[in-house]
Symmetry: D2
Subunit: 340 residues, 4 copies
Amino acid sequence: MKVSIVGITGYSGLELVKLLNNHKNVEIASIHATKEIGRRLSDLYPYLSGVCDLEIEAFDAESIMDKSDLVFFATPSGVASQLTKAFVEADFPVIDISGDHRLPAEIYKKWYKKTPASEEILNKFTYSLAEFSDIQGKKFISNPGCYATATELALAPLVKAKIIDLDSIIVDAKSGLTGAGKALSESSHFVNVHDNYVTYKLNKHQHIPEIVQELKEFDNNLDHIQFSTSLLPVNRGIMATCYVKLKEPLSESEIEKIYQDAYANKPFVRIQKDLPELHNVIGSNFTDIGFDYNQTTNVLTVIAVIDNLVKGAAGQAVQNLNLMMGWPEDLGFTKTPSYL
Amino acid sequence: MKVSIVGITGYSGLELVKLLNNHKNVEIASIHATKEIGRRLSDLYPYLSGVCDLEIEAFDAESIMDKSDLVFFATPSGVASQLTKAFVEADFPVIDISGDHRLPAEIYKKWYKKTPASEEILNKFTYSLAEFSDIQGKKFISNPGCYATATELALAPLVKAKIIDLDSIIVDAKSGLTGAGKALSESSHFVNVHDNYVTYKLNKHQHIPEIVQELKEFDNNLDHIQFSTSLLPVNRGIMATCYVKLKEPLSESEIEKIYQDAYANKPFVRIQKDLPELHNVIGSNFTDIGFDYNQTTNVLTVIAVIDNLVKGAAGQAVQNLNLMMGWPEDLGFTKTPSYL
Amino acid sequence: MKVSIVGITGYSGLELVKLLNNHKNVEIASIHATKEIGRRLSDLYPYLSGVCDLEIEAFDAESIMDKSDLVFFATPSGVASQLTKAFVEADFPVIDISGDHRLPAEIYKKWYKKTPASEEILNKFTYSLAEFSDIQGKKFISNPGCYATATELALAPLVKAKIIDLDSIIVDAKSGLTGAGKALSESSHFVNVHDNYVTYKLNKHQHIPEIVQELKEFDNNLDHIQFSTSLLPVNRGIMATCYVKLKEPLSESEIEKIYQDAYANKPFVRIQKDLPELHNVIGSNFTDIGFDYNQTTNVLTVIAVIDNLVKGAAGQAVQNLNLMMGWPEDLGFTKTPSYL
Amino acid sequence: MKVSIVGITGYSGLELVKLLNNHKNVEIASIHATKEIGRRLSDLYPYLSGVCDLEIEAFDAESIMDKSDLVFFATPSGVASQLTKAFVEADFPVIDISGDHRLPAEIYKKWYKKTPASEEILNKFTYSLAEFSDIQGKKFISNPGCYATATELALAPLVKAKIIDLDSIIVDAKSGLTGAGKALSESSHFVNVHDNYVTYKLNKHQHIPEIVQELKEFDNNLDHIQFSTSLLPVNRGIMATCYVKLKEPLSESEIEKIYQDAYANKPFVRIQKDLPELHNVIGSNFTDIGFDYNQTTNVLTVIAVIDNLVKGAAGQAVQNLNLMMGWPEDLGFTKTPSYL
């Protein structure tokens, strides 16, 4: 199978190269960006010397459809929404890693402050949190956001089991800097990040409506979550620390059973006895989940960790590709985290 | 005024040296530890060459009382509790930076798993969160813990104003590694901390009873808080992110007024318009507090940041010294944070 | 092919697990350590949950030879020297990643301050810097040190080409903390490493005699090198910055040709147009080499970067395994660096 | 004494604020920048709330001369050269922290690629490496560069003593990111710096001619040095590792005497028994120097460390101010390094 990648110079695009190079069913046919057209990817990124020496091409939907069987969009928000129409009309498969096909047009506009795709196009796309979706044979996939992936995987089993006070959900999520993208800004300057810890977009992060929308699938009474996002001085990794009040006290084993049942046969979710730390999933597509229940306060703390560029972006996109194609969910993945 | 420092080789002891070197009313008369007796401090810590060349002495209460007018304990928990009796009996002033004189004996034993000081000794000590205490002329001061300082300063005004649901308090606190002390352990090995983020002692941190005890002073109905502690891959700094539900919605200016009133004339607390980041207080005795109220969820997020070694330990101890002596609260402090 | 790993809980042992899990010709039959016998590796290292759930066994040469076809030693120095005799006598293949079989007994004793293996055993071992060795069919392989690998690959082509003043070689090498091993010490405590840069073992590093010995293979007139080692506040990666004076000025293209010729058909060495940075090889078995010649000073600066745990330890050990077996040199390697 | 600072929003300008706030003889009368005119410095930098609440003003030479007694330039290169004329003509004291008045016009143009000040203006300025200059009563001071300060202080005693082979000098210098300034660029993006180590401007760094020019003062036969500069993933600190061959072997005590004599009565240079590490000087104006002589290679390694923003910029500027005024050299300095 041949694929094209649009947005090759972003972190997700580069991570796709790494993952797909290792996937025996897939070959990268072309790579696209708006800058550096005609240059070899490995000239821009010497770490890819001898690994991916393709030349960067300008975006051209026709040419992509000629060369490939599927296109990944790994573009900043506001780009894919303007470019997927040609593919949808041609019934040509698309996996969009960006946020452009996750939300209804009005909500997208409000939170992203960009022009949305048409409702018609948006309706063709399926939001696929891989552990909870059924997309075999589907053609247009919207890949979840990084914070959203960690948070939804932590909370969905609890919401589904209807054991928590829906008004009590508070998520304190932290991300490494690759989650903030490659754009140059004061907030990504080394000196401002190193030895610092900064909470940003409090109550304004664009993944909030996506998380509410997805959790609502499991209990329609859920209307809002309290969600904070902070930047950790690391490159990769997200931890979503979720605090919820239980309707009734539960034992540790009852809670564990809810998670074990929810993720039985899911190769990329691991329920941990201890609270998971960031290191444990770096470089892998795993989501590690652990929890602790405090009888004194009736608060259940659930912690989920992912690698934001893998499970939170390119890895889940490949997992979704596998699911679309009916291949084993973990085909092509080197499962061992790089850890350190 | 002459002072002695017991526990000189810990982070708080070394920070005291830095602060007291700059304090015109104070001279360090002797420094004490259990190891490296007879060696010059600057031989062990070359950054102090020409700055503090005192020799380390073994602990000896009599000798300290001969040479000095006050003793600081900057020892690990379980040490000061065994050593303060001689000073108390001689009515010789003590400031204990460790946790050994903060809690009643039974509670101390439960959370610290160490032998407590006697109730008689404990009753002589005053817990002094500097912004809320009145200790002029007092002789035995128990200095607050680092996490406790940030959390109490963030929450006390709200608890006192009786505007929050006391059952709703959730604190997600993060600390740099100096907060975990100098002991060698897997959890302080560079490789295990760098690029990682680890939540530890969830619901078990020994500062929990101290925070509850102090906040109870402001509303006796408060019985518990949900409190989590994590290690940030930085050396210094604590951020306490506090989530509370309001009894009734309030405007931003009403909330700000509560804080401004609580900390009027307090030189080391700064109420910020934006959420404070760690950098802003590093190297200083400031506590910066900011907040954001979410009308959708009715959650008020309050963030307090401190330098754990300064306001969270040695700095507040010097501030308490100033208050004991009736000197200006900020005497001897270089107020500008080192920032970067 | 079945293999055993002795020293599983060290960084090199764990990295071997990662690499061999991905190697289709190899299966890990047993893992050994001196501690935590009977525990599952994934219980100690949750990042390996579902990836390597083998139980740790005590070392037992007989049992290893029953279960496996080859044994890797990934032990601290001073261990393998005491344990390889049984395997050598049984003609059972060994790859020793530690420094125990790299040097003659007297030199080993002087630099490592440990008891050496017997000269008889040492003579059976071949030191294999993979790009310059011919070990197909050999049974006892001594894997190069991490600093030594980077330095030798940077300098060997120049020494071999006899274009440099041998008395002029100065190497300023820097390593991430995993290079210093897992032992707890002041020098590996997070607070002492973070935001710091420390030069250690100047003129005393045990890789010095190994480098001299190997470079001497290319020009017997070489007797010494000036070599400094420092700790970078990162987990992985070594940069060896080498300064040499040329006998006669050379053009950039003449120098490049020397390197291109030396490493033609070597899949894991990449000659770069620009100076290589640490990121470019992290997570891979690549050695990236770049250089710059200063006509004013007649100094040629050559920079080589490797991932100390991969090319500097476990990766080169797998590469050596491939060479011993006559398999393709890069069999089983995911070639794309993790980069970030 | 009243002073103005031009270039207040750069790292050196901000560091000046910190240092001068603590200097009893000096008051900051005005602060200047090209952006954010009219805003309070503490609104832009909340860490300065209550510490420096001055408003930023546009540059205006007349106004500065009205309000102040001396002006500091802490501007990027290419700015001060265009602005100092008015002050020089009015005989109004200037300390320029930038590189604009360190080199003859032609050399400046070649290395900085900017328009130089006129030779007439340049001739009025004295380059003041504080430990070797005599500037009491001088009016126009050019403050040394950060790399240059560390390198010159390490090498000047050796060059002066005429004990080294001048053709053998190789300096491998490393700096934290504040040394690279605040401009946004790929090379200062957090993700590209963190966990990385990058050598840049090899043989092209603009401090090279400044170092050669200053060392030539001590031995006119010195014509060049080999000098490399790399970025450490830390905010502050420079280590200059200098390698030189001795003309004749010397004992450790002979070498130490050369340094002790050179820096007798210099309060900010500390000769260390062990090799100095970065931590030891952070937050202070100290230069720590240590060395090690290798008899086998005849290479003397000298390591100097400084805080690039203090001794390498704002601190040395204040030291130079003290010297100009005939005040004690260390007036206004809190001497204890922040260390961690």
